[in-house]
């Protein structure tokens, strides 16, 4: 086997293996999303399509929830994009490495940029200088997550139609967000951001056009920044 295809295989497999443990969190999340989408006004078809078009779990779940609540389109878009603003941070951190990749890869591979693919790749990039290995490692991590997300969300959509309403399965949505929230509250400013974000969103829950969520989120971000400056 020549050296190029060797690096491709090794990189892809290493990336895939590195994210495998993280699939434990992805599988139930994908199932919950699929079930929620199937039971919403969005429906299973378009709900599943968001897994391909958006491919970002928290934003997909919030989008479904807000559309189902009849929130104004512009507010749904703004809220989803605020949730996904963290990708700017990942993109900035990955940029120096991706600069060594072929141009086509630089424009296609960002589609696979997720919390998990970023986390495992940026750690591995500290230990290697080979741009081909870096590219295939990231691809392996990203595509593994993508496939797992497609399978689990599609399965959730198919199951969703069978779930009776008395099971209150819509409660699984805030439970998923809760499971994502607790680990990111790592320090005091993050705790302040969460408390203010949640508190303001609750107080503003009656705001017109469904603006409560985004008002809460922006208040929380500002509070986090203020708290970080205060603790310095």
């Amino acid at each position: 086997m020549n050296q190029v295809s060797n690096v491709r295989r090794r990189g892809t497999l290493d990336g895939s293996r590195s994210v495998a443990p993280l699939l434990v969190g992805v599988v139930p999340f994908g199932l919950v999303f699929g079930v929620a989408a199937a039971g919403s006004v969005v429906g299973g078809g378009l709900g599943y399509a968001t897994s391909i078009i958006i491919f970002a779990g928290a934003a997909q779940l919030a989008t479904i929830q807000l559309l189902d609540a009849g929130v104004a389109a512009l507010v749904v878009i703004a809220t989803a994009l605020v949730i996904n603003a963290r990708h700017l941070m990942y993109s900035a951190a990955m940029a120096p490495h991706f600069r060594e990749f072929p141009t086509a890869s630089r424009f296609t591979l960002p589609y696979l940029l997720t919390d998990q693919a970023f986390a495992v790749s940026i750690i591995r990039y500290d230990e290697t200088t080979d741009p081909r290995y870096k590219r295939w490692f990231y691809f392996g991590a990203g595509i593994t997550l993508w496939i797992a997300w497609q399978i689990t969300t599609a399965t959730g959509v198919l199951l969703g139609a069978q779930v009776p309403e008395s099971w209150s399965l819509e409660f699984a949505i805030p439970l998923v967000f809760l499971a994502l929230l607790i680990p990111v509250v790592r320090n005091r400013p993050a705790l302040v951001a969460a408390l203010v974000g949640g508190g303001v969103a609750l107080l503003a829950s009656g705001a017109p056009y469904g603006l409560g969520l985004i008002i809460g989120a922006i208040s929380g971000v500002i509070a986090g920044v203020v708290a970080e400056r205060a603790t310095r």
Binding site: G25, P28, V41, L46, I54, A56, A59, T63, L74, A80, L81, V82, I83, N84, R86, H87, L88, M89, S91, A92, A95, P96, R99, F107, L109, P110, Y111, L113, W167, S168, F171, I173, P174, L175, V176, F177, L178, A179, L180, L181, P183, V184, P189, A190, A193, A194, G197, G198, A201, L202, S205, L213, G216, A217, S219, G220, V221, I222, G224, E228
Partner: protein, 105 residues
């Protein structure tokens, strides 16, 4: 605006945030004033999604454990999330608590 159009706009916007610095020419890095707020997007947004969903019942504040089983279920689920960081365990404990309380209350 149709739901499909909303989804497509969010999809394009999400791709563009992922591409942003990677696609940019030159070697721009992100200034600290821009990085700092982004660190708090996740805790703020996730809490804004969670808190109203557990503290409101039929659109009204309900913080009484006796009448709002979701509150109790969420507190137990939060404890599980804190101790295990396991999404499946959080869902199982939260849903089971809710079902038990709904059957009892």
């Amino acid at each position: 605006m149709t739901a499909a159009l909303v989804v497509v706009i969010i999809g394009v916007g999400t791709y563009l945030t992922r591409l942003s610095f990677i696609g940019a020419l030159g070697t721009r890095s992100m200034p600290e004033w821009a990085v700092q707020p982004l660190r708090y997007v996740a805790p703020a947004v996730l809490a804004a999604l969670v808190v109203p969903a557990i503290a409101l019942r039929d659109g009204a504040f309900d913080l009484a454990p006796g009448t709002n089983p979701r509150l109790v279920a969420a507190l137990l689920a939060a404890l599980v999330a804190w101790r295990t960081k396991n999404v499946a365990a959080v869902i199982v404990v939260g849903m089971a608590t809710l079902w038990i309380l709904q059957a009892v209350l």
